[in-house]
Point group: C2
Chain length 200, copies 2
């Protein structure tokens, strides 16, 4: 149980947030009201919840309005799209004027305290409110997991254009082809398109 600013208590365990790093999608809002979505690692260590955020639109938004929502998502296409591009405006809905993802199975809204660093900042997160929309039975799919790994390597590949990242992407693509369903395959097609590669 983690205490928060308001009268309510949010038990992040109910949202499946355990020790370690949960891969979620952060939504934030810019001073001129433009919503942003980006995959983020939500760290839980002891009673602490935090994120380590590189200089990015997400960090800029948090610096101007210190609020972020961690959206718990199981759509591989949404992970790829928000990692390498922008989520379309129709992907968002608004809770008291703050953007969350329509397709999230749940979200937690956090107050943020930012320790600004040169290239990476540590943002301490205090839960303010949360909502669970969907609980599912979800067996392991290696194809889904491979999309997540490929997305991480793709974000490095677009910056550094190094062969080693490409090899990782291709390895994970072979797992998606073997184990994934339609949604995972569509996510990998989008990934290849967004990084400017051919998916053979």
């Amino acid at each position: 149980m983690i205490a928060c600013g308001g009268a309510e208590l949010i038990n992040v365990e109910d949202f499946g947030i355990h020790e370690g790093i949960s891969e979620v999608i952060f939504t934030t809002i810019s001073p001129d009201g433009i919503p942003n979505a980006a995959p983020m690692g939500l760290h839980r260590k002891g009673g602490r919840l935090f994120a380590r955020i590189y200089n990015s639109k997400t960090l800029e938004n948090i610096m101007s309005k210190p609020v972020a929502a961690a959206n718990i998502v199981d759509d591989p296409v949404l992970f790829v799209q928000s990692a390498l591009s922008d989520a379309e405006p129709e992907r968002f809905e608004y809770v008291e004027d703050f953007p969350v993802l329509k397709d999230a199975m749940g979200w937690i809204l956090f107050e943020c305290k930012c320790k600004k660093g040169e290239t990476i900042s540590v943002v301490e997160l205090s839960p303010v409110k949360g909502k669970i929309t969907t609980r599912k039975l979800k067996p392991v799919n290696r194809g889904f997991n491979a999309v997540i790994e490929a997305s991480i390597y793709a974000t490095r590949y677009v910056v550094f254009r190094e062969q080693k990242y490409l090899e990782h992407i291709e390895y994970y693509n072979s797992i998606v082809k073997k184990c994934g369903g339609a949604r995972e395959k569509k996510a990998m097609e989008l990934l290849y398109e967004l990084v400017g590669l051919k998916n053979d």
Copy 2:
């Protein structure tokens, strides 16, 4: 919706079984009543459900009694244990004298039709009954996913003892250390112990 032998209909979608391969744990029973648990890929392709099973205790059991339960599990320790060793007797419970896993979030019982091959057999699966115990909100944890990948490489490593499998295990162990929680770390400790390696 997939029709089955009995009067009921089981919608495998409700169990999160979509196109592609779901990683589940198969439970089977031997002629002398000893339960067995082993990780297995449950393939869904069009209306077909099947598994490709190497010569193993699972295959022997299915040949003698053509029934298997696909247990949907999210405990990384159970994945490692059933991949590389035996699940303890207290891990099982019995449904009409057939073993399923106590900690399963759900299970589907299948009638099996086996096309025996030299080293690998294709087992066609017809759902007979199923049960859902738990639906959870479960964010992506790369540590959990890494345990699954490491288990697969570990089953190859114990057979072939090749360096390349070891390198994969070590790579995934580094992800578990970074992103996993207590249960994922315990699973990796068990994995290293069961394959006879030191986990530094």
